[in-house]
């Protein structure tokens, strides 16, 4: 089994590795040491590592060279003479070798992550012991380079292609006007009810898009739902308040709400103040939103996006003012709080399905159907993998075991 060690190590690891080197002081003293110039020990010379080879590390962005070797015959375990291996590097074949790293005994590979792409390097590896190191064995020249494609992840391309095909297929079907069925999602059915209640009570609707930026898909999903809610508040002439904790979310939110008010035919009701920035600070934002809740007393509160520790504080305050609350997030640690304190909760995938569900847009529904097709494929593979693995374990059949392993590897991240 290969033990790969990169240049980056924890301080503890560095201490251990330096101890593993156990070089005589003169050799360990400084750079520019020539590994072949060490004096012969009094005992039987230490056998050097064999088969030293260096090659460009594959499937990476460059700047990395892998060095491998076979153990020294004297590396016979914890009680063997070899205490470690020392790797040297030079840009010249016969001189200028500098110590690159020290590794414990038993190691047969390491990765030099400090290589510069396009530069030729020569490496030498020697076994070390408290007495004297072995002769160094060389490899090279070798150059590092980056690869455009990570071939180890071809399986991901295939899986992504299947998913994309399914999504595109159903989007086309939706665009052609095919009737696409989506089951009832009660949390989303409540959106109309909540906005209607706020309208009847003459109180505002509060929308919280989470505390993450626009590079989080949950915030993006929250924004698409905001568009639907804003269209309803514009139609019913209900006040909408969207406090945000990120400047980019504020810009996006304003565009979203403005567009929704335009589509509802009520651009006159739109104001930039509907979406307003508070602070990036998590609990500063929560303190302000809690203040808004108890002072404005919104009749409906929507929490749709990525949430962290603030979820329960917000939902409890909303509960205390008697607002109807609809929450949705894909944060597994915060979902329990929303489930406990809100009237309706969109769990994970339901949040992403919401925009298609609310808008009834055929193309978005097609996208949702495509995702469902992906889930169906996942279930089939899981059941097939479980069946094959169980049969292989029960019968000991090698072919089935091989097939099961192939299936698992197809879904492995390399």
């Amino acid at each position: 089994m290969l033990r790969k060690t990169g240049m980056r190590s924890t301080p503890t690891a560095i201490v251990l590795l330096l101890a593993a080197c156990s070089l005589p002081a003169a050799v360990a003293a400084g750079a520019g040491v020539e590994p072949q110039a060490v004096s012969q020990p009094a005992r039987q010379p230490l056998a050097p590592p064999g088969g030293v080879r260096a090659y460009d590390t594959g499937n990476d962005a460059g700047g990395s060279i892998t060095i491998e070797w076979d153990r020294s015959p004297d590396d016979t375990g914890p009680r063997g003479r070899v205490t470690g291996y020392e790797v040297f590097r030079s840009e010249s074949q016969n001189s200028g070798f500098e110590s690159l790293m020290c590794l414990p005994s038993g190691t047969t590979a390491c990765i030099d992550n400090s290589a510069v792409d396009g530069v030729e390097y020569y490496y030498r590896v020697r076994a070390t012991s408290p007495d004297a190191p072995s002769v160094a064995v060389g490899a090279g020249p070798v150059k590092s380079s980056g690869q455009w494609f990570n071939r180890a992840r071809l399986n991901l391309v295939v899986i992504a292609a299947i998913l994309v095909f399914a999504i595109v297929y159903y989007i086309i079907q939706g665009a052609k006007g095919k009737d696409l069925y989506i089951r009832k999602i009660s949390g989303l059915e409540a959106v109309d009810e909540a906005v209607g209640r706020a309208t009847e009570m003459g109180r505002p609707v509060l929308f919280i898009p989470g505390i993450q930026d626009m590079d989080n898909v949950q915030t993006v999903a929250g924004m698409t739902i905001l568009a639907n809610i804003a269209k309803r508040t514009a139609t019913y002439e209900t006040a909408l308040d969207v406090p945000v904790s990120r400047s980019i979310v504020m810009s996006t939110g304003r565009e979203t709400v403005k567009q929704a008010y335009l589509e509802a035919g009520r651009p006159d009701l739109y104001s930039d103040d509907i979406v307003h920035y508070i602070t990036d600070e998590q609990f500063g934002y929560v303190a302000a939103v809690d203040g808004i809740m108890v002072r404005q007393k919104p009749a409906a509160c929507f929490y749709l996006g990525a949430f962290f520790a603030e979820s329960l504080i917000l939902a409890e305050t909303g509960n205390s003012i008697g607002a109807i609350q609809v929450a949705g997030t894909a944060m597994p640690t915060q979902l329990p709080f929303f489930v406990a304190a809100c009237d309706y909760t969109l769990i994970g995938e339901e949040l992403f399905a919401a925009s298609a569900y609310l808008s009834k847009d055929r193309m978005m529904m097609g996208s949702l159907k495509g995702q469902d097709a992906g889930k169906a494929v996942a279930m089939l593979f899981i059941l097939a993998g479980v069946a094959v693995a169980t049969l292989a374990a029960a019968t000991g059949n090698e072919t089935l075991a091989g097939l099961g392993e192939w299936l698992r590897q197809f879904f492995a991240i390399n």
Binding site: I248, T279, E281, G291, V339, M379, I382, L383, G385
Partner: protein, 234 residues
Amino acid sequence: MEDTPILASPLAQTISLWIAALLTLMIFSFLYKDNPAYKFAEHLFVGVSAAYWMTVGFWTTLIPNLMAKLFPSRMGTIFPVAVGNRAEYFYIVPLVFGILLLTRLYSRLAWLSRWAMAFIIGFAAGTNFTRYLQSDFVTQIHSTMIPLYEPTGNIMTAVGRIFSNLVVVIGVVCALIYFYFSKPHEGSFGKAARVGIWVLMAAFGASFGYTVMARVSLLTGRMSFLITWVQSIF
């Protein structure tokens, strides 16, 4: 005589302790009802933190990630690490996008900001696609492909393992069925979806208890601070 930094002096530490304790009490006063003390603490918190994050954003993002890349030789004492580096002119692209975002301030050019926003959202969608495909989809399938039966010497171990693996497989498949939107939750499909939501609720319950314990420890920490403050008075 040795100079003591003003903020490290006993008087300054006493004042900061009092400020922290009073602000904590002001925030806690919200548990009773909204009041002027809470409003003061809230506005102070929001104002200070907004200004703080703007400054942090300027010094940790704009300076090192933009200005130091475009004008490394002019960083001088502002960001000395960059001095001597070569200018990386492709950073003009994010600079242009940043300026486009600011066009919102001028209504006639505000539409230009949509380009930057479209880029941000498109980038987020694209990069997250592969990320979530790996972490939430592929890894989940890989981890669930487990044998329901594994021959072992100990009967109790075998039974325990079968039960554990069954829970994993049934839990994952039923939860997936719950999130399948293209079919009504009726009949056996509906029953499987019901099992799925039970699995989710059981997981949420465990998570709830775990997180509440963490929150209680936070409260304990704050109470401990207040006790220290009260003790310092007497």
